[in-house]
Symmetry: C2
Subunit: 491 residues, 2 copies
């Protein structure tokens, strides 16, 4: 699949996609939020209606299991509907009204009204590892469209048929729901992606994938004559720090949890825990070996992933002690586990914190938990960091404190591979977890990536956007003269 030559969008088509996106952008940005919410729900309904056929296509192209794909499609339509719900709730608009005030301390204040509005057409570069949830109709598409931005979607070559079919369904749903033609289009091809990203009609970009690929696109976005924001979700090793108290009291549970998490879905999650810090303990590596050996090999998404992991495994074998490392069979690569000491790890943290995409991990056996705070303070940006400990463990508060400057999500006694789609989710983190640490790519607040503020000074009431009118026709939260005001508080 990815070994085949990638299909590319021809120049005439690319031009018409970009032109259509630009020509409808203003109308899309100005559609009332409930209208765009209707578009997202229509897409969700359309996908749900074609569930079996989509899952079948995805199975053919990605080697993922039916159960996993059914779950992922459900998550995808849920996040479309949650975004729709958030659109109607309206606080994301940050609608703010400051009435004229002749006595304002810095001099007479004019009538000022501020709100957020879509930035314009967004190039969304789809991921390989979530063919639904981070692909054609995934979270970036949901939040960009929701924010009022036309979407130019770059299909991932790992699942081209599924991408095209999903795009057809998205377009069909949008048409039925009354959205303008051109608000969503699919493109294919590497150089076409770069061309689109350089095009002045594209106003923001988003991406989920490797550090190398994401950095290259980020550099293009930043070096344009008119730089644009680029939201890349890149690499993460998602370290887990097991404190002595956890090993003492929940040893089996912790080790089983770790092995389950790093091998889940052939280790192809952005949040796979790739490094486990444990206190040096007799027999612990043997137990881990036994647990890992019991996990059946699972196929990876495509052959490129397999060869990428094999290259990384070669490095890992040279650098660390093998705990478990078996030959691939017809079913795929078995999970691999390596080990090293805390002091050896400290000597080359760069290697330790380099992602291995797939079911491979490193166990670091430390002598003194105090070392962990020092290591954590040197951690490059992560999507997640996990602490396993009992509440009375003395080192836990300091460790949590340091980690929360280095990771987007901090877990206590859990494993990071589940990413709940909800208001309080943060899926992001400092570089290299992402190219934009101020944002998340999961959850309704991901809308903020595609919105810019505009203020209106002394506009006649009839010319104001609905979001910032005194009579609050959208029934949304507004900040009025400094005070957050619920829609129920307005007459």
């Amino acid at each position: 699949m990815s070994d085949q030559l990638e299909h590319t969008t021809d120049q005439v088509d690319l031009e018409s996609v970009l032109e259509a996106a630009a020509s409808v952008a203003a109308g899309v940005a100005r559609a009332v939020p409930s209208e765009r919410a209707g578009w997202l729900r229509a897409i969700a309904d359309e996908l749900d209606g074609e569930r079996d056929a989509l899952v079948q296509l995805a199975q053919q192209e990605t080697r993922l299991t039916q159960g996993r794909l059914v779950g992922e499609l459900g998550r995808t339509t849920f996040q479309l509907r949650l975004t729709a719900h958030a659109l109607e709730e309206g606080s994301w608009l940050e609608a703010t009204i400051d009435h004229a005030d002749p006595d304002w301390p810095t001099g007479p204040r004019p009538d000022l009204r501020r709100m957020l509005r879509g930035v314009g057409p967004v190039l969304v570069v789809a991921a390989s590892n979530f063919p639904f949830a981070f692909s054609v109709a995934g979270g970036d598409t949901a939040t960009a469209l929701g924010a009022g931005c036309p979407v130019v979607l770059k299909a991932h070559p790992g699942h081209p048929q599924l991408s095209r079919r999903t795009a057809e369904l998205v377009q069909h749903a949008l048409r039925k729901a009354g959205a303008p033609e051109g608000v969503f289009a699919l493109i294919e091809g590497e150089s076409e992606t770069q061309q689109a990203l350089k095009d002045p009609r594209i106003k923001a970009g988003s991406f989920t994938g490797s550090v190398r690929g994401g950095r290259a696109l980020f550099d293009i976005a930043a070096s344009r004559p008119d730089p644009i924001p680029f939201y890349g979700e890149l690499g993460s090793v998602n370290p887990a720090f097991v404190l002595p108290s956890a090993i003492e009291r929940r040893r089996a549970e912790v080790l089983e949890g770790f092995v389950g998490s790093f091998t889940l879905g052939a280790g192809q999650f952005c949040t796979k825990p790739g490094v486990l810090f444990v206190p040096k303990t007799d027999g612990l590596l043997d137990e881990l070996r036994e647990l890992v050996s019991a996990v059946a090999p699972a196929p990876m998404l495509n052959d490129r992933m397999v060869s990428g992991l094999q290259d990384r495994l070669e490095q890992m074998r040279r650098q660390w002690t093998v705990v478990r490392d078996a030959e691939a069979d017809d079913a795929g690569l078995p999970p691999a586990l390596f080990a090293t000491s805390g002091s050896a790890a400290m000597e080359d943290l760069d290697s330790l914190f380099e992602e291995a995409f797939g079911a491979a991990a490193v166990v670091v056996e430390y002598d003194d938990p105090a070392e962990l705070v020092e290591i954590a303070s040197q951690l490059p940006g992560q999507l997640t960091a996990t602490v396993q400990a009992e509440e009375d463990d003395g080192i836990a508060p300091a460790l949590l404190d340091v980690l929360s400057d280095h990771a987007g999500r901090i877990l206590w006694n859990g494993w990071p591979t589940g990413v709940s789609v909800t208001w309080a989710m943060q899926h992001g983190g400092p570089w290299p977890a992402t190219t934009a640490s101020l944002h998340t790519s999961v959850g309704p607040t991901a809308l903020r990536r595609f919105l810019q503020p505009v203020a209106f000074q002394n506009l006649p009431a009839a010319m104001l956007p609905a979001a910032v009118r005194d009579d609050n026709p959208l029934r949304i939260w507004q900040r009025v003269d400094g005070k957050l005001t619920s829609p129920e508080e307005v007459g």
Copy 2:
């Protein structure tokens, strides 16, 4: 002044500044917001207490009038206090609590709590044209410190003594208020600024100044091994579009308003209206000439500004018809005004929309107001755009609509040179108005530039930051299980 060799911070001092900022960053980010609010109020009080001496110093170094400087200092201490007020109100923290929910549609949801927290040390590069409000203790310092970020402040060489004195007062106030040593420091020098911006201990940058200077710093920030956000407020011509209805009914008021605005403060405001579109009207240029001639020459900030403006005037003389352009005298450069036709302007919009920093502007006489919508659609990003019209003017809604995609603030029958410090202010805009169109540099929401989200999953209650605890000890707004909840609603 700016002709003198710029003083530079030596390497030992720069290293100790950066190291101190990094070492206190975590503590500053975790200080409760009311504590940091106290720091900002202490700075405001300190500056107010030294008002006369500071204004006197500023007069010596900037050639600005006493009245202007007294007003600007008042604005500066007000924005420190407004930021402090916003810190305590707390909605900026985006505190979000999702309790565990076994029935969540995408599978059991863990307990998740999300909030924003300071990104770490910020390099603030001060502006020349507001020696108080956009300088050492200006808006960027207020919002970066308020957000919980140590500030490394690069002094503008146009007012070095004032910068050093202000920094002393800031540090004295911070010390008295109990802030840690190292949370604020002043540096000087161009190459030292670049060095600091490249340093991994600096996590964000901000700047107010020219497109050229801002772009160079933006490129440094974006090309770091670990790219960081860089908030540059750069150039803007702030076009004003006068529709026929306004000229017919309020001709004198409009022309006087424009001349007053573009010549205010020797034209040295970011929001100076540099281009005026007016319907071609007999005698109108003569009236403008008379109004401009009546404005006394005023001194510019420093000799570098004068020579920059003279270079730009040379270009303007070659390109456009002179309406008024007199020789400089001892008092300074008199305001200059040029004119062109709508069709000629359309042929070289790049030149038309290039900023002239100082009291110089271009009048574009158009034949048909419908041309304006076309011109507006090609407008590069602006801090402001103004429409002067009567409410029944047919072209106004379409023009406002297009402009609101190209400017951060849209004014109706006003002039852009006043920038009120208030919740609904937007001081920003698409490139090249700024390097980051998602944000503002004026008003409390400017805090968002220096904040990144962090989520906590299943943390024991005792280890949670105060902002996301169920008992809401900070008494702030929280989003609880999806619903925005006022502090009054909690027991």
